[in-house]
Subunit: 168 residues, 2 copies
């Protein structure tokens, strides 16, 4: 009889997906909370407006989860985007539409990531070497990082940010 | 013969520890990068100075990892702190000393968390119900969130923040 080392899972893939989507729901609220002109033009210390940060997150998330699933790391422009948007947004509605499109892409590709794949090494976007779990964590951590910056933008504008713990 | 569902681990407990400590090394660099007076007094939009955010992280991390390991959720003041510090800091050196003490506490208690414990529910600090992995992720995510805010403080002061991807 073969024996196998059973490793307890810290968390399941479904739980990790839900944690990520929970963060994404919170980030969506930050986009919603910023007045449209501030979303695209407001900056502190020469940093990017929050719309540009959100676009960075979008351009990482959808091709990133596809790369994790398939091993093919495409650029954002190479994957199908909602008609009429094509990777640039000029209004809050367009940005939110692209955000929600990304949510669907994540839901579509996530179940296609084989469980053992999280421990495999891959070169994400042809540039970054690491295990798949690390890449996914990086996507999430980078979002939390920029969203925290969005909180400062909101506070400096006198706008109450959403509760950090609210992820529904 | 009993059969057991073998779940592939997304990541190992050692990898999660290293990811956390990597984030903590980066946060330490943000503390170091802020001039001492700005660390304790500078604020945007009525938010707390970064020293207060860092103290929040310290008061969560050490008792948090002990709670994850033992099921006993103590307040920060109840656990042993370095002599002469007692949970308040007035200088950058004191804050960094307490940060490094926390690093050691995490290293001490982390290996005492049983692997299966990450999937157990517990009420962290007597208030927050969730699985242990969720609590640990919350500690880490909360740190990334506040550190992102520290980056805005730095940028607004004309100081280049450390690279986000540098975790050594």
């Amino acid at each position: 009889m073969e024996t196998t080392n059973i490793t307890s899972a810290i968390l399941t893939t479904e739980e990790l997906l839900e944690a990520w989507q929970g963060h994404r729901r919170l980030t969506r609220r930050v986009i919603e909370a910023l007045p449209e002109d501030k979303l695209f033009n407001y900056s502190i210390g020469g940093m990017r407006p929050f719309a540009e940060m959100a676009m960075e997150l979008i351009t990482i998330a959808a091709p990133g989860v596809e790369g994790a699933a398939t091993g093919e790391w495409k650029e954002f422009g190479e994957i199908q985007t909602p008609e009429g948007i094509k990777g640039t947004t000029e209004t809050k509605d367009e940005l939110l539409e692209l955000w929600d499109w990304t949510t669907e892409k994540i839901e579509e590709f996530w179940p296609q990531i084989p469980e053992e794949r999280f421990q495999e090494y891959d070169v994400a976007f042809g540039q970054y070497e690491g295990k798949i779990w690390w890449h996914i964590f990086y996507f999430i951590d980078n979002e939390i990082h920029h969203r925290g910056q969005g909180y400062v933008y909101l506070r400096s504008l006198g706008i109450e940010p959403p509760f950090f713990w609210e992820r529904k």
